[in-house]
Amino acid sequence: MSKKTGRRDFLKGLVSGLVVGGIAGVAGTEIYRGLAPPPPPVREEIPTTPIKAGIQAYLTGGGALWGKPMMQGAILAIEEINERGGILGRKIEYVVKSETSPEETVREYRTLVLDEKIDFYVGLISSSNTPAVGPVAEELQTLTFFVDGCTDFLFESVVPDPRFCFRITNIQSADGVAAAIGAIKLLNLTEKDKVRIAHIHPDYAYGRNAHAHMQITFEKVLGKDRVEVVYEAFPGLFKITDFSPYITEIIANRPDILASSLWGADVVNFYKQAIGYGLFEKMKYVSCIAHAASPAEAVKDFPDGHIAGVHANYFFLYPEWDKYPINKSFVNNYYRRWGTYPDSPSEGAYVAVYLYKNAVEKAYTMIGRFPEVDDIIRALEGMTIYGPAGPIHVRAEKPNKHQCYKDGIVGISKYDPRFGFSVLDKPIVIPISKITVPEGWEGTPDPKAGTLAYSWIRETWREGVVPV
């Protein structure tokens, strides 16, 4: 039997409700009156002078394949922000300087800070230059975003407790680790009884770093006895144009995979010559960096079906445009502005400018005036923003304080007629938290490889287990 609510019941309920509500309301007002009113938001006047940015990039020579897109990414972000009214109404101006050898790069950095009076700095590709400029940035107390120059050495030993410098790109050790894990998963290497590996890397700090971290990842994940190194070579960076002696020897050693961190002009020379020798039919090429910068120039007719790394950073097709509009608008705007597709360094520089904008705005909401550099730094530490490549997090604690982290991607190379160059296909995401030294980890850098990451992998990874 159902009971219907009569008119009388309804009125009773209404009256009692009003009474209870009224009492509660009055009591609430009384309590509210007892408390001090919140202070009115302090909003000091924001200066109208423009903010000045300094950009420093390789504009000529072998590094320009990386430096030019970096400059373009930063300029695009600045122009976008200016078009939408600037940062808290302040427009951004910029000055561009060349990146060269450490001595000259430091000199030009100092003139940017001292003469151009820049408010923040975006720049650098070379791993030789970030350890030179890092301490100078701390000395001159200027907010500095390194786009690349990813050496682990910077935040592990040169400036272990930075205040003013930040770095956007994923740390160098993550590059080799991500590519090796990508290869293991995409090529199903765990199913093989034995994997024969050949290595070819440029002969300098980056190549050695990539070699060490790829190798230890293979050894840990696949098991030491199942990995056999059949060949190793370190040609000088941008010194070799004829790779045929290397190619024939690699083929003669019959590896299953060829692990490589050749980049720029080297990778172009290598793969074009290796195609002629049929190298790519005989083994899988595992590159951690080939597709990372200026893919239209660097990997135009790269063979299909090989492991394509992007410096553990960004490839313009991912995250997929329809699912992630930030990337779509970035790619569209970049193409409209520069007539080419963005890449890792351009995304890095673009994100650097937006990190600055976000930090300034966040600090402003907290302190109510245009923030000083210390306020901006406080806002930056621990901050996560969504950039074209996905979320990027600024680490606030040691080790590698002020290093930014984002998930890396590795895919399979595939020529795409829509773009006219080789792109990344079937990408897998490598969560950065699984492949890099966690916050607060206390260890000592491996003496041979020179990095904390190497010691961390050696000490904490279980052999035979894929960590991702």
Partner: protein, 332 residues
């Protein structure tokens, strides 16, 4: 007096000291208005030593070295190793170490290379410099490879500069180096105007005749080579203390090219040439880096120097003095 000015402008010690003093007086004023150009002057004064050393071989002995980066590298890596392995960041000891190590290196390679002249000497030096460069590069577990060796701010006479703000630190650096440069310039001037210096000039002008009058050409060249090496290594020591990272770049052939270029720009046959060249070169280079194609700017400039003023800026200045002096004499 007027005749002296005309003939010796730039070659007498007085003009050199006056020039350096003017720079030392102008520096704080420039720094106040534009600290960046103050830093550029700091680079200028740092490189004088290497250029003077190079010019002792090139302008006064007639040996074109295209590998002086070798000695800059020796100086730089001496500093790097002294700090990395011994923890020494005392600049006097760095200088001492640089002088000793470059003397040793010059004594090892000097006896072989000074037997050659002209293009053979230039190429030989280039080759040896490149060998050393590749060693710095390859032995990365010792040298840090391209990551380099990071060194802290130096200390003078045991007084640490670590706590100073940048401007004060830079002033200390600038005046320390300027003071040192006064001494180095004076020593070099004495060497060039000594009988030994005259011997070198005689070898440059006519080797056969010098040998005929009994000059031991081999020994004279070797001594000049060693002095030159020491001067270059001093710049190596100072330069890495100025930017505080020792990387193989300082030993690369482009550094040798810079030494040659800056000396030619200033003027190789006049004593003051390298001193002027060092400042002007760094000012132009820093200015050119505002443009995307800055290397093209530098290239065009070197072509212009070779065609329009082969004697360099110092020679041009001397010609101007000449014109002014003659004019005034006619007028008076």
């Amino acid at each position: 007096m007027v005749e002296r000015l005309k003939r010796f402008f730039g070659d007498d010690i007085k003009t050199n000291f006056i020039f350096l003093t003017i720079i030392a007086i102008l520096y704080p004023i420039i720094y106040v208005f534009s600290p960046g150009w103050g830093v550029v002057l700091g680079h200028g004064v740092t490189w004088i030593s290497a250029l003077l050393g190079f010019n002792l071989l090139f302008g006064y002995t007639g040996l074109l070295s295209f590998g002086h980066a070798l000695f800059l590298g020796v100086g730089a890596y001496t500093v790097g190793f002294m700090y990395k392995y011994l923890g020494i960041n005392n600049i006097e000891l760095h200088l001492l170490g640089g002088i000793l190590s470059s003397t040793v290196v010059a004594l090892i390679i000097g006896p072989i290379v000074v037997r050659y002249t002209r293009i053979f000497f230039a190429i030989f030096m280039l080759a040896i410099a490149q060998i050393l460069w590749s060693l710095y590069y390859k032995f990365y577990w010792v040298t840090g490879g391209t990551d380099g060796i990071k060194i802290p701010r130096f200390s003078i006479l045991g007084i640490s500069l670590e706590k100073l703000d940048f401007a004060t630190y830079h002033h200390v650096y600038f005046y320390f180096v300027t003071g040192l440069t006064f001494i180095l310039v004076y020593i070099m001037w004495r060497i060039i105007n000594s009988p030994f210096g005259l011997t070198l000039k005689s070898i440059r002008d006519n080797e056969t005749r010098a040998r005929f009058i009994g000059v031991d050409i081999y020994r004279a060249r070797l001594y000049a080579f060693i002095i030159s090496a020491i001067y270059a290594s001093i710049t190596g020591v100072l330069a890495v203390n100025h930017h505080r990272l020792v990387t193989p770049d300082i030993a690369y052939w482009t550094t040798s090219g810079k030494v040659v270029f800056a000396t030619l720009l200033g003027g190789a046959r006049i004593f003051i040439g390298p001193i002027v060249g060092s400042f002007v070169f760094h000012i132009i280079e820093s200015f050119a880096m505002k443009f995307i194609y800055w290397q093209m700017v530098m290239g065009i400039l070197i072509i212009a120097i070779v065609i329009l003023m082969p004697g360099g800026i110092a020679h041009l200045a001397r010609t101007l003095v000449d014109v002014v002096v003659s004019h005034r004499r006619r007028g008076g």
